[in-house]
Each structure stands twice: as structure tokens, then as C-alpha cells.
Symmetry: C2
Subunit: 569 residues, 2 copies
Amino acid sequence: MLPITKAARLRALIATRRGVASISCRTARSLHTRSSLNSAEAAATAQPATHEVDYAPSLLSEIAARRAKAGKLVAGIAAASDSDMFKGPQTGKPKAKRWDNHLSAESKSREPCSLKQAAKHLKQPGLISLGGGLPSSELFPLDEIDMKVAMPPDFSEKGTAAHGQRVTIGKYDVRDRDGTYDLSIALNYGQSTGSAQMIRFLTEHTEIVCKPPYADWRICQTIGSTGALEQALRMFLDKDRGDSVLTEDFSFSTALETITPLGVKAFGIPVDDQGLIPEAMDELLTNWDAKARGSRKPHLLYTVPSGQNPTGATQGLERRQAIYRVAQKHDIFILEDEPYYFLQMQPYTGRGQPDAPAPNNVEEFVSSLIPTYVSMDIDGRVMRMDSLSKVLVPGSRLGWIVASEQIVERYQRHAEVASQGPSGFSQVIVHKLLDETWGHEGYLRWLMNLRLEYTKKRDALLAACEDNLPRDLVSWTPPAAGMFLWFTIDHTKHPSAGTRSLEEIEQEIFDSCIKSGVLVARGSWFATEKDAPLPGLYFRATFAAASPENMNTAIARFGQAVKDSFGRK
Amino acid sequence: MLPITKAARLRALIATRRGVASISCRTARSLHTRSSLNSAEAAATAQPATHEVDYAPSLLSEIAARRAKAGKLVAGIAAASDSDMFKGPQTGKPKAKRWDNHLSAESKSREPCSLKQAAKHLKQPGLISLGGGLPSSELFPLDEIDMKVAMPPDFSEKGTAAHGQRVTIGKYDVRDRDGTYDLSIALNYGQSTGSAQMIRFLTEHTEIVCKPPYADWRICQTIGSTGALEQALRMFLDKDRGDSVLTEDFSFSTALETITPLGVKAFGIPVDDQGLIPEAMDELLTNWDAKARGSRKPHLLYTVPSGQNPTGATQGLERRQAIYRVAQKHDIFILEDEPYYFLQMQPYTGRGQPDAPAPNNVEEFVSSLIPTYVSMDIDGRVMRMDSLSKVLVPGSRLGWIVASEQIVERYQRHAEVASQGPSGFSQVIVHKLLDETWGHEGYLRWLMNLRLEYTKKRDALLAACEDNLPRDLVSWTPPAAGMFLWFTIDHTKHPSAGTRSLEEIEQEIFDSCIKSGVLVARGSWFATEKDAPLPGLYFRATFAAASPENMNTAIARFGQAVKDSFGRK
């Protein structure tokens, strides 16, 4: 069963073909077009926004026209910026709700950085600053960075090595070459939001992909979603209040390891092939017993909607809407962690069957994606975490969040005294590639290409499973997104069922796998509630890195380890 | 008065000339040479280590020999590493004390990341990993990064633009070109310590500069000292225990803004021209009144020993030793924040006087530096924070800590669920420059060059002050390090002294400065105890960024603003 229903795909395609142009040009910094609806009015709206993807083929050209009209982006060293400078008009949209009661004491106590506040004076003409301790770019030992990058239509590694495009980042491109970003700016101190140059690109990208239905959304760059999640958890969770967080009953182990030291508990919600079950979430919250749980009723949900880690499950559109409604009902704030969003693959058609037709162009591609939580977030109750780790390079340590102005402002206050924003090397290299070389369309084509590459990898792993695994013992659902395949092993058929614990059997299979030369991840590593008994026997495999041949060998070894443990030949 | 006494300099130079070779070759990973002294024995030692800088001219060649003997560094994607792989023998050194009672509940509760633990199996020959979700480098859209960098002896910007050296970082230099680091490794996921390649360089650099007197010291890369400080504070401070932190009575405002949201207090120790006064610190701690203070007796000191921000004060050698002894007496752990350590300048000889002779070579340069706290840290009670922000480029967001194995391990556990280490772009570019192009000697020459550049900048600001400031109202001490000059204004001479608050007068002067076109930082921004009355009227100016002409204009404006406020012409 695949999470993307045919109907949803079709509806999306039709919406695309309608070609609704919903973003018009305006100059940067014209903030007066913001909606006058207040948050009370927004709160009165009971349903998540309609989900029809009204991505318009003309949006890309509209963004180009908006840039042209706004004129050259002037943003020097440590220039402050926010999404409002670059967004299209938000006319008619409500403002986000406020989350004062959800925020932790730590987050609420943050004051703006006094030195960064003083930076506002720098705009004054003729002012000489003896204020901030910024080194002079004169003393930077780099004059230029060149790179060779992949270009459409041939994004392949071989093609790039042979005829990739050379692009150059100079030290003073802004001063000397009419550039918008250069080493003298990127390599100096910046704002905790990251550079204005990247904020512009990512704001536009968010319009293309998420199109938030409330007015006062913003983005802020991060040092990747692991760091962003830690900041977000500290923003919302307060152990002194008995806070806790909801998540899938098997969840990303690093996320769980981030939560525990904060002195709060994580509670698991049952999942199915489409991930989180909204009815289960509703029931859990409706019947919350604070005393038995040792935590007050949760006000925060952490979820990975697409290609969830570890289960590989992808929430379909209706599923997301249902979960959003449950969140509204119980006043839950949602942390939407979407590293694999653009690793939504082609529908799995089965072995030897013709491939599903690939998207013909970037419009079809964007329309084919399941809408994000942000795109239905009429309350501003979602903080989305995006990252370049899975779609470009993990080493960039560069991601971004999308959330309401209030939430982004609190996030930013924390980042000012923590990361101070992502690496300038990362920002300027990524900007040169994504904004100046590829542009929005080129980046979307890169993502389309990635979709097909991951489809091939997944299909190779699925073929290896079909060839090598005992189907009566091991079952799996072909993942619609991400890089993980989740194996459910029928432990009731194990000769020691009932006499040995699931942990012991899991350990035995894992050890046997290592011995025979395959590393898979144990299900128990991802169990949200570590003190509860394991509900089943699971293993996680990734198709991200190994070659098809190696996958086949590896899965054969895994299959044998399972059979050995179950006393099969 | 200058913090570096002539005697200390001489002693250091003599020590250098003794040329004691104290680090001999050994192969990497031979850990058996570690001292067998236990921490009880270490604790029995009552005095900080002798401070004589026994930097040996042969250390650089010894490091080179050690590398040659160890053979090629083999460290692939996400390879684990630690300083023990790269350190010289630590024979005869005690082990660090343990700090279990100093650590916070949050820090103590951190468990190793289960997925990273599993990575230990990757060493097994023939093992195929379907474990971690690492993308394949095949799908990285960059083939190569080239750059043009400054080279000795002409490090100037102009020289670099004209004839800087071109260096190339390929995607598969390790596989194809006998390299040690490349894009396929740097741009994938890494360890929270950062790459083994950078750990090697920074471990050796720490031997050259700090030479810790205990055996089990380690380094870990950071995303810069702001982030490192936040992690360190969370490691040691626990509001539930009534913890607090000591620091200079005027301290780095961002550090103070990091401390407050943690729910703990910062207490200020009086300073003089050499910063922290050890007797005042001892008295404060000896007579600590937990009830009156609202916090139990502190166990943590945060200090910036060289070119302190904002006062510009530099602790001399004897001062550091005295503070260390007070820390021993009261069992205080020291956070040594040293962004400006290598911005120790030439002694200020006075206007029109001949310059002090510059160091003749890198040995003299290193010997001229005031010893670090780590270099006298026989107990392992110091965590030093280093950063490339002030000495290379702030945009690298790359720094490192030096501390005992226990402390670094706790730090690393946190980084695994937060930053995940610095940007791979930053690491590979910095490695290419510092390790592969300049080498240790080249980097030290770069730092020597920086010393002279900052000396010129400081002297220009001091000249501007001598020319433009009313000496009976404004006084200052020529800074020996850093980028800041601290003005003390004699508020007793103000016509409104006693009738208006110092804050009001400070505000008046600040506003007047802005109006006339100069930004200086207000002293009150840096006051450690915000609820205590301001002890005086102070302003901070930086000489980092402005040209000499601009500094002169700016200081003239500042002087006029002071005179206007004091009713002078």
C-alpha cells in the first residue's frame, strides 16, 4: 500500500494545470501588504487550509520579476534580514496564533543581544563604527574560491567531472563585479539567521514548496536539523512544568537522545504504514492521565512525515490533515522534521512492471509532492525543519526552519548565543550553486533527478529483499520516501517465542548479521519508550549508500541470520 | 603598565634557547605510553605547573617525524578520532582529576548515540553497511573546489590577489591522488568531534602552544566559542542546584546573555589593568554567603585571559598562576575563553618611540606568548576554548576546546545531538590551508604577521586618543592583546555627578556619539551584575576594523561627545 493515493496525485496535477498565479510582484521591504486579520480571527477557522497544491507554473517567473523590480539586493557584512523583505504579498491571510503558554521559561527569558541591537545604528550615513569586534576582511587569507559543479540536464558524477561548470566566488564581488555576495561578507561575522542572500533564496523556495496559509511566516537558517531540533525542544519543553513530547512509537534515535537529557519524557503514538495514527493520538490525549504518566498533558508533537526514520512510513495528505486536526483539538504545537521530503520517490509498481511515468517538468514535480504541514497550517502551529543534508551534502551543516514570526524570533534569540548561524563557507558556496548557478528551477531539476536516483536505489533493495528474505517471517512496505526500509519479523514463529525476550532474539540476529558481514540497525534503538516492552521484532536497512550488488549480498546475509535464529535452513 | 613583564619574556626566551626537546616520535595510536600516575597522585600536587615555556625549536620537526613514522593518515567518512591518536608521549604526567560533582544533571544523563556506537562495526573487513543513513558521495553536486590563498612571506591582501597560491580540493583525492582528506569525506556526515584530519592538526598545534602538563588531555572541534561556551555552561551549571558562575565584573555581553536564560546567576569579580584580581576572587569565595547571594558557592569561573572583552585587560603570567591557585583552593573549574590569544601585540613603547623588536622566528614568537591556563593545568581543571574567528575568518564557525578526556567526552555527547561538529566545507578548506599548504610553521608565521598588523591598528587608535581625548576626563591602558580599548571616564567631574545616574550620563554620551557619527559600546552593556549599581562610566572602542584616518575622526567625535556632556569646550 502506498501512501500517495492516485487521487491526491491527480488532484495535485489538475491544480497545477489550472495555473493559478497567486503571487504577484512587489518591491522588497514593502511590508504594508500584510494581512490585517488578527490571530483571534485566525483561531476561529476550524479546519486546516485546503491542501490543493496551487503551485503555479508562473511562480518562478513571478519571483524573477519580483527580484528585478526590487533591484539589486544590498546586504553587506552582518546585514540583518528576514523573510518579510522577500515574500510575495500575504493579502487576506490570517496572522499566526501566539504560543506564549507553550514556550519554556528558558525561551521566554531570552533578551535580544545588546551588541547586535547596536548594529541598527550602522545604517546611519557617515557613521564610523568602533563598536563591534569584527575583523577586517583585509586580513582574510583567501582571495578567491572556484568550484566545479553539476549542471542540468546531466547531473551525473561522471558528467560533472568531465564538463561541470566552473564558478568563482571572489573576495570583493559586491564591490568590484556587481555581485550580491562574496567572501568579504560571507567569511566575516553574520547574523544568527544566516545571510540575507540565503534568506532570500530560501524564502522564495518556501513559497514554491510550502506556500504557508498565514501571513506572518518567516524562515531562519540553522546548522542542520539536529541542532534545530535541540533548540526547538528547549524552546517548548520545561521539565519544571512536567512537560513531555509526543512522537512516533519508533522514532529517530538521535532525537530521542536529544530529548532525554532535558529531563522530559517522550511518549510514543502507534503507527501504521502511513505513520502516526491520528485516532490513536486523539485517544492518548483525550484520556491523558498525568499522574500515571508522570507528565502533564503534552503540548508538543515531533514527527517526521515523509520517509520517517526508522519506519520509512510516509503520511499521506488525508493523514496529515487528520493529525493537524487532532493537534488543533488538543492545542498541540507540531515540530515537522522533513529531511527526506524531497526524497519522495516514484510509486513502486512492483518487480518487472513498467516504471511510473516521471514528472515531465518542475511544475509536475512540485505538484507531485505531498503537501507539507506548513502548507495547511492556518494557525501557525507548525515549525518545519528543512535541511540540505539529504538533498545536497550533509557537510554543509546548513538547514532552515519555517514558522511564525514569534517562534522564529525566539529561535533566533537562542541562535545568537549558540551557533550564530551556519558556516559562511557553506552559505556562500551553497548560494553560488543554488541561487546564482542553478536558480530555483535548476535546483528543482536537481531534486527531480535525486527522486529518480533514490527510486532506483529503493527498487534495488526491494528486489534484493524479494530474492533473499523468507516472506513468511519478514514483511515490509515499499517506502514512498526517504532512505529506509523497515522489516517486521514475525516473532511468534520463533522457536523461543515466549521463553526468550524480544531483545535477546533481536540481539542474536544482530550479532549474527555482524558476524556474516552486514550491518543493519536494531529496532530497539528507536523505541520511543525505552522502559516499555518492545512491541515487536524490527530491523531497519538503508538503501542510501550501498551498490545494488552489495545490497543483494547484504540482504542475503541478513535473511540467513534471520533464518538461523528461527531454526530454518 | 603592560601585563607582559620583561622578566617573563626573557625567561621564556631563555627557555627557548635551552631547546629542550621534550616530545619524541612515536607511531600514531600507540596509547600505552600514557602515564600510570593516577588522579589521586595528581591531586596531591599543590602548585600549578611551572610555566616556563619549554617550546623547543625542534618540536615542529619532531611532529613531522612523528607523522612520517605513523604513515599516511587513513580516515574515511565519519571516521572516529581523538587526540590520543596524534599526541606525543605523555610519560610522567599525572592524569586529570575527575569532575563528577561539578557536572550538571543534564550532562551526566547523556548516553552515547546508539547509531554512532554501531559505527564501530564498520572497521570489520568485508562488512556491508545498511546501517547509517549516509548519502552516497556520488550524489554530491560538487566535483572540485579551488582556492587562492595567502602565502608567506607576503601575506598581504594585495600580494595574495596578485600571486596567491592556487590549491585544489578534489572529490576523491584520497582514492585517486594519495591525499588525506577530500570532498567525498568532508561533505558527508562526520563525527561531532569534527574530522580526524583536523583533530590531528589541532592536537599538534595544542602541543606547540599549550603543552598541557597532564596526560589525558584531548581536543574536540566546535562550531566556534559562542556555541562551545553554551555547551560548557550547560555541562557545569544546574539551576536546580542553585549554581552560579564567576566572571570579570565587566564581561562579554553575549556570554552574559547565554548565562541568564539557564536560570543561573553570574557574579562579577573586580578587575584591574591585568584583569581578574585573584585576592578579590579568594575573598569573595572565602566569605561566600549563599543565602544573601541566592546561589550556592560557585564552582565555575568564566574568564577571557588575553585582551579581555570589554576591558582589553591581559592577565600576566603571575596573575594567571595566582588565579589558578585560588581555583585550586576553592575547587573551581575554569572556562578559559581565548579568542584573542594570538592577538597578543608588541609591547606599546609610546608615541614616537622605536618599536619593540619583533620576534625573529616562530620559536621566538611562540615563546613570547603568555602561557595559557592549560599549560599550567596540572589538575585538568581547565577547558580552553579556541577559535579561528579572530585569527583566520569568523565565517568558518570553527573552533576547538582543550580539556581532560572526561570533559571532552561529555562535550562530545552533547555535540552529537546538537551541532554534529563544524561544517565540512569549513573543515576541508581550513585543513587544506593550515595543514596541507602552510603547515604548522606557516600558520605560526601567519599569526606573527597578524600580531604586527594588530599592533599597528592599536597604535593608530592610541595615537588618535592621545590627540583627541581630554586626558583629565578619559583614561585608558594600552592593551597588550585583543581588539578593544576601554575608556574610564572620571564621572566625579561631571556637572551632574550625584544628581543624575551614571546610566543617564552614559546614555547621553552614547546618543551624542551616534548623532555625531561614531558608534562605541556602552560600559553598562557588559556589566556582569545588572541589578547592581554601575561602578563607573566606561566605553569600549575597537581598533579591529576602521582605518587609521577613520579612527582619528571617530575618536575626535567621541572626545567631543564626552566634553559636551561634561560642559567643556
